[in-house]
């Protein structure tokens, strides 16, 4: 018997995601939020001057996706990510379809890998969508103009566009880590709502920890802090230290969560449904 490849299982996981309302709820938010933000920028003369790039949103459309990355890290992107990653295993439990797919010719490890990759793909697509919509809407509202960096130099619009793209890529690291936490909760809780809310609470908790007096030393190692690592790219010269730290800190959250989720999934009894 020739077993199907993991790539085949992955393609069908994507097919399932494409057919679920929850996917479009997340992608809808990833599209609508930057549009609303761009419209607000167009209608109001001021802006969020106390955040990096907030003062430039009327000067260049490239500032808009960057400001959104800052605001979105609090709950928007963790929520969008958790909507699918927190659901992807739990929904199979709730529908009783886990037993259906586990009695075919693919191993549990293949199903786990395919679902994990599908959740990552969705997370990456959501970020890409937000970045694209924010950039296009920003350029329409504020123009395709050079953007000042955090160190005071100004880069051309074309170079700025590349930096926005690179920032989105760096932003993916904590997003993937959040997805791994959501996958763990999805596997362990067997309940979509519990996994989504749990992931969001976890994300918010990490942010709250950093403002508790005496715990400031933990801040560089909090997952929430890694959402700002992309700012290293917006310096001249680029500061790679926060990006490198984000890579290993995010891995330190993601890999154990994923391994525990895998062990749970491989060993669990499927008695419901």
């Amino acid at each position: 018997m020739k077993s199907p490849s993991t790539a085949t299982v992955y393609r069908w996981e994507l097919r399932k995601l494409r057919s679920q309302k929850r996917t479009y709820l997340g992608l809808g938010a990833a599209t609508v939020v930057p549009l609303i933000f761009a419209v607000a920028v167009a209608l109001q003369p001021g802006g969020p001057r106390d955040v990096p790039f907030g003062r430039y949103i009327h000067d260049t459309g490239l500032a808009i996706p960057l400001v959104l990355l800052l605001f979105g890290s609090i709950w928007l992107f963790p929520l969008i990510t958790a909507l699918v990653a927190g659901d992807i295993f739990a929904t199979e439990d709730q529908n009783g379809t886990l037993k259906t797919i586990l009695t075919r010719s693919v191993s549990r490890a293949q199903i786990f890998a395919a679902k994990t990759l599908a959740a990552f793909t969705y997370g990456a697509f959501a970020i890409l969508l937000t970045g694209t919509v924010a950039t296009v809407a920003g350029v329409i509202v504020s123009g395709f103009n050079p953007i000042p960096t955090l160190t005071g130099t100004t880069v051309s619009a074309t170079e700025g566009l590349g930096l926005v793209a690179a920032s989105l890529a760096v932003y993916l690291m904590p997003i993937i880590a959040i997805a791994c936490i959501a996958l763990l909760f999805s596997t362990a809780f067997k309940n979509s709502a519990g996994a989504v809310v749990g992931t969001l609470m976890f994300s918010l908790l990490l942010q709250l920890l950093t403002i508790i007096p005496g715990l400031g030393g933990l801040k560089p190692y909090m997952l929430s802090t890694q959402f700002n690592a992309w700012q290293g790219l917006l310096r001249t010269p680029a500061d790679w230290e926060p990006i490198i730290r984000a890579a290993w800190v995010c891995s330190a959250y993601a890999i154990p969560a994923l391994l525990v989720a895998l062990v749970i999934f491989l060993r669990r009894d499927v008695a419901g449904g």
């Binding site: 018997m1 020739k2 077993s3 199907p4 085949t8 299982v9 393609r11 069908w12 097919r15 399932k16 057919s19 679920q20 309302k21 529908n95 009783g96 379809t97 037993k99 259906t100 797919i101 586990l102 009695t103 075919r104 010719s105 693919v106 191993s107 549990r108 009894d269 499927v270 008695a271 449904g273």
Partner: protein, 298 residues
Amino acid sequence: MTVERGDVFGYLGPNGAGKTTSMRMMLGLIRPTEGTARLFGRDPQESIDALEGVAGFVEAPRFYPYLDGRTNLKLLAALDGNDAASLVEEVLEVVELSDRGRDRVGGYSHGMRQRLGIAASLLRRPKLLMLDEPATGLDPAGMRDMRRLVRRLADDGMTVLLSSHLLAEVEELCNRVAIIRKGSVVYEGKLADLRLAAGLSYRLRTTDDLVARRIVSEQDGIEEVRDTPDGRIAFHPADEQVVAKLSGRLAEAGALIIELAPREATLEELFFDLTEDDADAADEARVSQAIDTIEGSP
């Protein structure tokens, strides 16, 4: 428990006896606390390859409600590999769902989902088809259709393991049965042998049942005398000569025979005899020990 090639094997037991649990073990969905379950000699806990040639469902078959029936089957065919995808239309035809294949499964009736479950199983070209209560929850027409379908598959040479508590269904479809009680197999074999082992019983009604009851009880060669709920005297004679002698004695005693008829035990009676016995023998083994080996030949 051994399922032979070509069997339609009835797996019987009261609720909670362990039928579904043991089938989950056979399909590798849960781990036995002790003992092993093997399919064609392979342990499904060790590798998914153990399910090669095996298909079926436990409890109700489940599908993705937001996908249509055809797409659900295509998905499962993709997870089966080989040429399963080329069988989608054929199996939809077999279960008479071709015209509903483009409808979302969320809108399917219970009966349609059961049939789709069988279609999904057929994608694997199974040598052994395991069905857990396939007719439960269906209306009479749905039950009839399901039985016809299982009969047709069996006639085509497929081996079927059919878990059920619908005794009429088992009687109609199965040639061999295993009866499980508290996790132990209390009978395994042909239905005909079970009936033979139970022996032929007679029902008696006379003009004076009090006298008749005494005479029957005293008659040599008669065992298990009891009163039936419908007012008759039931007993097991050693042979027909004993019955002939009894009829003579009844006539001599003035208990004239109104009815004296042989009666083959129904599966229901045999089932209750085996599953409601208070003997503790069934406590000896757990499900995992009882369901040690499922063997079948291609």
